[in-house]
Symmetry: C2
Subunit: 358 residues, 2 copies
């Protein structure tokens, strides 16, 4: 195996931390000695051991000494001492690891380079490889939180080819077909929160979970419902699925309902106005890194106009609804121009068309 | 040069007949003798010589004898004698041409194979090559006329990403950008009629012509205006451009205006109801093979719903107009599903997205 292979493995490990690393980045690490992988680790959950420490623990548990091993780690080992766990760069030195390959310097400018300097001070050979793109993709949520104090936000909706998101004459019929719906469900796997408006809950009673492969080892995203008047039925699937739903509301008088919802595992956030910025700051404070906003139209329009989004996905389904359809942007009062700073790409998903702006 | 090269040249020649072959297909022909191209020809215009005859004439004009030459022709030479010009298969025999390569049998089932049989009867070596796809693309208008008695129809419109075709708050602003507009103009080159509604004429005063390269040798498409109340201003650009505009109207009382319009070179077609089928049959009777329908929304919707179209092109421009926009399908009363028999493809045109359904 080459450096590239070890690094690919480290990234695959890192991804396992999805939805559980809180305000920390996802990181993976691989220990190699005499061409043999002796330890693998990743940052499993917020507050837990870092990837490097877990890889060392894994190797030692199997009876290997990590002395003189090579370490492959997706992100620069930490060096700050005021933390829940001992800094990884110190641990690497202490354990006698011989050489370290790093995917990217810590994106936090205040601390980056410090871990590497510490390693070099102790004569550990340290090489920074170019895995910036991979890290930015993996940790886009973490990076957004760090830079903007808001989660990484994807706006997603399915529309007909004439911009309609709902068939008024046949409300039970979904706009997308099976292949499109499966694709959209797979998207959820990369988010730790799925946000919808109360009307979507009342109309569709969705579970808002991910139902694809590898579901067992996977931590479901948290449903987030914007419900100003607290109309959510307590028997909604989104509550009974038990994925720690978050409900934003402006309703404070229904103490009794709030109590019941809390007992059912819901987190209730009282908010003055349902403004995108305020909602996203509150979600950031709950350590949600990546939010997928799934509509409906009113929420789509208000988040689109707010510009507090990183990515926009529209699936265009091969139909024209005409006057039978509800317009995607009936709540958008001013036009929104997709400026040149955004990239625009498309992909065929079955017979639908996926537009991606980011 | 190989057979392929000669055939490619024959197709390039055929295309020069665009907009002028009336109810005939476009056909090109190349005569080769001792590895030298001695004659080139195409069907220049309805009623004129066929491609084969023109190629022979070209060779003879240059002083070559076509005896024992090889002929490459895009479509099967004709054999029917009741025509304006002598049948090409007879001419080929008469001139002593040795061998004939044919791109495709005549698509008209009533006559196909007859030209080939005639040639074989006179011991002329005849090979049918596989240029069906190229012929179908080149002669889609002719094929449509023959099969359905209607021209080949392309519906084209430019929309925002939320399905709006007109900015109500800023009517002067076009939905598409320069690159999109240029691309759409280039489309016109392949049509012999450009159809719009009177509102488009009143609002935009368009020239409805092709303004791209190679314009000199090119025959402009005819503007077609649906104008039930005959509101067209006599100083409209579409009239002064002098491209033989066709005006469909239900208004019969304005005799004076009809006279003036006819003097200005317009063809006036009185029609009972502005129905897509009726309009297309009338255009077919004028030998228009390929019609590009450019809107606006009402015409788009009525032709879309009629199903009398072969191809649909929507340019999605990177903007969301929301409530400031006029909906593409505000006149579409029933939903239109794009069934599986249609192919759906997309292409990036600058920052716009071109959707093609055919």
């Amino acid at each position: 195996m080459s450096r590239k292979d070890y690094m690919r493995l480290a990234f695959a490990l890192a991804k396992k931390g999805l939805n559980n690393t809180g305000s920390n980045p996802m990181v993976g690490a691989v220990l190699v000695k005499n061409g043999l992988i002796i330890g693998k680790g990743y940052h499993v959950e917020f507050g837990g051991l870092h990837a490097e420490a877990n890889a060392i623990k894994d190797a030692e548990r199997k009876g290997f000494s990590v002395k003189n091993a090579k370490l492959f780690v997706t992100l620069e080992p930490c060096s700050h001492v005021k933390k829940k766990t001992p800094p990884c760069s110190h641990l690497i030195v202490e354990k006698g690891i011989k050489e370290v390959f790093i995917g990217m310097k810590d994106p936090n400018k205040k601390v980056n380079g410090k871990g590497i300097r510490f390693l070099k001070k102790y004569n550990i050979k340290t090489t920074v490889l170019d895995y910036k793109i991979e890290n930015e993709e993996l940790n886009k949520g973490f990076i957004s939180l760090m830079k903007t104090k808001r989660p990484y936000v994807t706006l997603k909706i399915c529309s007909s080819m004439d911009g309609k998101i709902y068939n008024l004459e046949n409300p039970k019929e979904s706009i997308g077909d099976k292949i499109q719906l499966q694709h959209a469900n797979k998207l959820r796997k990369n988010y730790d929160g799925i946000l919808v408006g109360i009307n979507t809950v009342l109309k569709d009673n969705p579970r808002l979970d991910y139902r694809g492969p590898k579901i067992k080892s996977y931590s479901q995203p948290r449903p987030i419902i914007l419900d100003s008047k607290l109309r959510i039925p307590i028997n909604s699937k989104v509550i009974s699925e038990n994925n720690k739903p978050i409900i934003f509301t402006q309703e404070t008088s229904s103490k009794r309902k709030i109590e019941i919802l809390m007992k059912l595992g819901c987190e209730i956030i009282i908010i003055k106005a349902m403004k995108p910025k305020e909602i996203l700051l509150r979600l950031a404070s709950l350590n949600l890194q990546r939010i997928l906003i799934e509509g409906g139209g009113e929420i789509f329009s208000s988040f689109l106009a707010s510009k507090f989004w990183n990515e926009l996905i529209i699936y265009y389904s091969p139909k024209f609804l005409g006057r039978s359809g509800l317009a995607l942007t009936q709540h958008l009062s001013n036009q929104f121009l997709v400026k040149n700073k955004y990239s625009i790409t498309t992909k065929k998903i079955g017979r639908s068309l996926m537009l991606r702006i980011n």
